[in-house]
């Protein structure tokens, strides 16, 4: 939910900077204490991310107001201590944030959790004395407790769900207030890199006392589109309502023009309908967003105002027409993603989240599954804006553990808290097309598991009956069962269905390509989607979705590399015969199964997918040469170690595997202008052809033909020795506010300006100007060092630096150096 600010971000920064000069005294004694932030005016969603103090580690008395925290580190949120260097760590067993002995092991990518404390000083003497003040955390990993001025406000147990506290009763209206957050990520509690701390945004709502719009109390959905008119039903919950109040709801288009408005007397739960003539509809190809404004008024006096993005669209799913958005069929070309932002760890910067979505859209993805937790709201903002469909998922386990210290410990008594927060906080998102109640849930087909499945699905339908419910089901869907009229989905009473899918509107299949059509034959009402797939099956899933509309499409595991589940996607050379299965271990820290790597570049699997999905007619890659007697083990989630490279010094004369992917019917290779092979491609080849070519430096060219016509050419050229660096900001200008990020690519080039495709070399960085270096590293899936130092090692000839604005405008100079290479620099202008 995006809510308007009464004070814009730049003004807020100016005000908070000014407030930093305010004197602060505690207990009458002069102390070296942090400055208190002043809250300016009233409004919703006021940013509250800057000026926190942080201590890594446990301690007692840290919640006390009087604690002298001047020695604590200053941090601005979002913050994740797990991606910071291990304190006191040293190679070879500790490298940057990675510790070979970390309790999470491969699951967390050898990163550590633990305990951390945050303190934030603020003043409220700039707002009305009776103002109501609430704080909203979008996510703290994993368990948190919050105190205000020494009094505990509560605790939260789910690491990915938003939660709020009312600060009003405990506020010191005239002096310093101290908000304290204790975050803990203890033991074996996650199967992937989760991060630790306040890793998502924090907001304040400052409102007049009395009547107000309930938190997440506005629910809107497009009920009908017909004859050039859209009907949008809106339900609004109001707290402390009285008869003199008026509720005004309106939609504005992207230009700010009011396209529909409704006004009615306010009641505790008001229902209104907006009639939009000539609506600009939202879809993946045209993500037209409106602003939904909700105002609570007493006469001319505005009491409360909430704004959020809203897309007018109708999503339907059925076995004959598949998934349709506004009547147009869309095959889900989706990817699963975890929540981390690569070198930034779990920090949910809006710019980083949007960059991820842009990278996926550029590779043809139209959907994301937020495996296996509710998404950050900054990521949902990007999906709404860029037309990315979303499956928002609640849980990775229910009542039975996957890890001894995971959320199963709290699930039986706490499940409705994160579930409600997920649905209510994001139910107006145009991008969300279905809710998932869980991933590969253990014991889901037992009597207890079946009942939990019903409870969760039914709870969602009570909160939001406008979207279907699914779950990602591994293995068997369970025994056949029938449900009664009272319990079944509408029209399904008495019909035999599998125990895991009987209460789902869409059955999610993990890795069961061959079963989708077989199961449909037995259950002709079943709509299904592949909630996880292997990358090498991309062609088969596309073909299945095209011939079988009851199958909506796929979510590959995964669209992007992520930290943790280390090495599941690694292709590993072994001596002799390949074993049937291999488990990677230290120093792997990255799953490495993504189409897109950890810093945002397309990998070999993505190039294949480009061809399968029609983005490219032809791609070519070469498998890294193996030493004699070695075999490459390529697991189900992995891709052969292929590079778009014809630079294999030392392999002269050896036969190399050249893989060509094409939508054509014939491909041919030329090496240094001479034919090096050609192959016809039939449907059974699934767009793939493999050649064996003796290596000789020069130019390897692939040509694709269809019906005798050339439809594509690709060239790989042997590069010369590394000669210089290139520093290339992804954008020459950027914002200067504290949440703004700037990505700077650093390439190692030869004298002709070509990236050295397989170069690993230490690079040093110097940043001057109003930005700080908050991430520096590469896509290397192994632990090679810090993500936050000035030095990093390139991987595949590239590294990535991420800068964060300090809050001031100006020019930032980034200079890169590497031994033996000509250095390079670039200027980034922040406005």
């Amino acid at each position: 939910m995006s809510v308007s600010l009464t004070t814009d971000r730049r003004e807020m920064l100016a005000l908070t900077a000014g407030s930093a000069l305010l004197p602060y005294a505690l207990g009458g004694a002069a102390q070296a204490t942090p400055a208190a932030t002043a809250i300016p005016g009233t409004g919703r969603n006021l940013p509250f991310d800057n000026g926190w103090r942080f201590h890594r580690g446990a301690g007692s008395g840290f919640e006390a107001s009087a604690l002298d925290d001047s020695g604590w580190r200053s941090v601005d949120l979002p913050h994740d201590w797990s991606v910071e260097d291990v304190p006191g760590g040293a190679a070879p067993d500790q490298r940057g944030p990675f510790n070979k002995k970390a309790v999470g092991g491969t699951a967390t990518g050898f990163t550590e959790g633990g305990e951390g404390w945050y303190r934030k000083h603020f003043r409220v003497d700039g707002v009305a004395r009776d103002a109501r003040v609430e704080i909203l955390f979008d996510g703290v990993f994993e368990q948190s407790e919050v105190w205000l001025n020494g009094t505990k406000l509560g605790e939260h147990l789910h690491g990915y769900a938003a939660f709020a506290y009312d600060l009003t009763p405990l506020l010191n209206r005239d002096g310093d207030n101290v908000l304290v957050v204790r975050a803990r990520s203890i033991g074996k509690n996650t199967r992937w890199y989760a991060g630790a701390g306040i890793y998502r945004q924090v907001k304040l709502d400052v409102m007049p006392r009395g009547a107000r719009l309930a938190r997440w109390g506005v629910g809107a959905w497009t009920r009908k589109i017909e004859g050039g008119i859209a009907l949008v039903d809106v339900t609004t919950k109001i707290e402390s309502v009285d008869p003199a109040l008026t509720l005004v709801t309106r939609l504005r288009d992207a230009m700010g023009r009011v396209v529909a408005e409704a006004s009615s007397p306010a009641i505790a739960e008001a229902k209104q309908t907006l009639t939009v003539r000539g609506p600009r509809l939202w879809s993946p190809d045209a993500p037209n967003l409106h602003t939904l404004e909700t105002e609570l008024r007493r006469g001319d006096l505005l009491l409360d105002r909430m704004t959020q993005s809203f897309g007018i669209r109708i999503v339907t799913m059925d076995v004959k027409r598949g998934l349709q958005v506004n009547g147009q069929r869309i095959i889900i070309r989706g990817g699963c993603i975890h929540h981390d932002n690569g070198l930034l760890g779990a920090c949910a910067f809006a710019d980083a989240d949007e960059r991820r979505v842009r990278a996926l859209r550029a590779r043809g993805y139209n959907a994301i599954r937020s495996s296996h937790n509710p998404m950050s709201h900054s990521l949902l903002d990007a999906c709404d804006k860029l037309g990315m469909l979303v499956m928002n998922e609640a849980f990775d386990m229910w009542h039975v553990a996957k890890n001894p210290d995971d959320y199963h410990l709290h699930f039986p008594t706490d499940w409705d808290v994160p579930l409600t927060a997920m649905v209510q906080s994001s139910r107006n998102r145009a991008s969300i097309i279905m809710w998932s109640i869980g991933n590969e849930i253990p014991s889901r087909s037992t009597p207890e598991g079946i009942e939990w499945g019903w409870k969760l699905a039914n709870a969602i339908r009570r909160l939001d009956p406008t979207r279907p419910v699914t779950a990602a089901l591994n293995g068997l869907l369970g025994p056949l069962v029938t449900a009664s009229e009272a319990t079944a989905r509408p029209g399904q009473a008495g019909q035999a269905d599998n125990a895991s899918s009987i209460f789902l509107d869409v059955a999610g299949y993990n890795y069961r390509l061959d079963d989708v059509e077989k199961d449909f034959a037995a259950h002709p009402d079943r709509i299904s989607v592949a909630t996880e797939t292997f990358p090498h099956d991309a062609w088969d899933y596309r073909a299945l979705a095209e011939r079988a509309p009851h199958f909506l499409g796929e979510f590959v595991w995964t669209a992007m590399d992520y930290l943790g589940e280390a090495g599941i996607g690694g292709a590993v050379p072994v001596k002799g015969k390949a074993p049937p299965m291999m488990m990677s271990n230290w120093p792997w820290v990255n799953a490495y199964c993504g189409d897109i790597d950890l810093v945002g570049h397309a990998k070999a699997a993505s190039r294949y997918r480009d061809v399968v999905w029609g983005l490219s007619p032809l791609e070519m890659a070469v498998q890294r040469p193996l030493a004699d007697g070695m075999t490459e083990v390529v697991g189900n989630w992995a891709w052969s170690d292929e590079l778009q490279s014809w630079s294999w010094a030392g392999s002269e004369g050896r036969s190399l595997a050249v893989r060509v992917y094409s939508s054509g019917d014939k491909v041919a290779l030329l090496l240094n202008g001479k034919p090096a092979g050609s192959k016809s491609l039939a449907v059974a080849d699934k767009t793939r052809a493999e050649f064996t070519v003796p290596y000789a430096a020069g130019v390897l060219e692939a040509v694709a033909y269809k019906g005798g016509k050339v439809i594509g050419r690709r060239r790989l050229t042997t590069v010369s020795a590394p000669a210089r660096l290139r520093v290339a900001p992804e954008s020459p200008t950027g914002q200067s506010d504290r949440q703004a990020l700037h990505y700077i690519g650093i390439d190692i080039l030869d004298a002709q300006g070509r990236t050295i495709p397989d170069e690993m070399r230490k690079i040093s960085l110097r940043v001057t100007g109003p930005a700080e270096l908050i991430g520096f590293g590469s896509a290397n899936p192994l632990a090679v060092g810090s993500f936050q130092s000035r030095e990093a090692q390139s991987f595949h000839g590239r590294a990535m630096a991420i800068l964060r604005s300090t809050g001031k405008a100006g020019s930032v100079r980034v200079e890169a150096q590497a031994e033996g290479l000509q250095s390079a620099s670039a200027i980034l202008r922040l406005i």
Partner: protein, 99 residues
């Protein structure tokens, strides 16, 4: 065009299990462990069956996974499971009863 709705149901009553022919595709490890007859047939063709499913990583998924799921991971051979299915069918081994 009207938007669909997915309304909640009114109350929970435990679903009733439908009797089913057992097979390596549709029956879980838990089903095999619960049926001495099916287990004996399985062990006759896949002697390592019980040892395999003692893997602690598999423990939470005994009800969600079946023998056929393990073929893609190299756990069992498809031809052995085909023979198990023939024997299960011949003996008419079924799961079912009240859920």
């Amino acid at each position: 065009m009207d938007a669909p709705l997915y309304p909640p149901s009114s109350a929970y009553e435990a679903p009733v299990r439908v009797p089913q022919q057992m097979s390596t595709r549709d029956s879980s490890f838990a089903d095999f462990l619960a049926s001495p007859e099916a287990l004996a047939i399985m062990k006759s063709e896949v002697p390592q069956f019980e040892g395999f499913i003692k893997n602690p990583m598999l423990a939470p998924h005994l009800g969600n996974m079946g023998p056929r799921d393990m073929v893609q991971f190299g756990g069992f051979k498809a031809d052995a499971l085909d023979r198990v299915d023939v024997k299960l069918k011949a003996a008419n081994v079924r799961t079912g009863g009240a859920q």
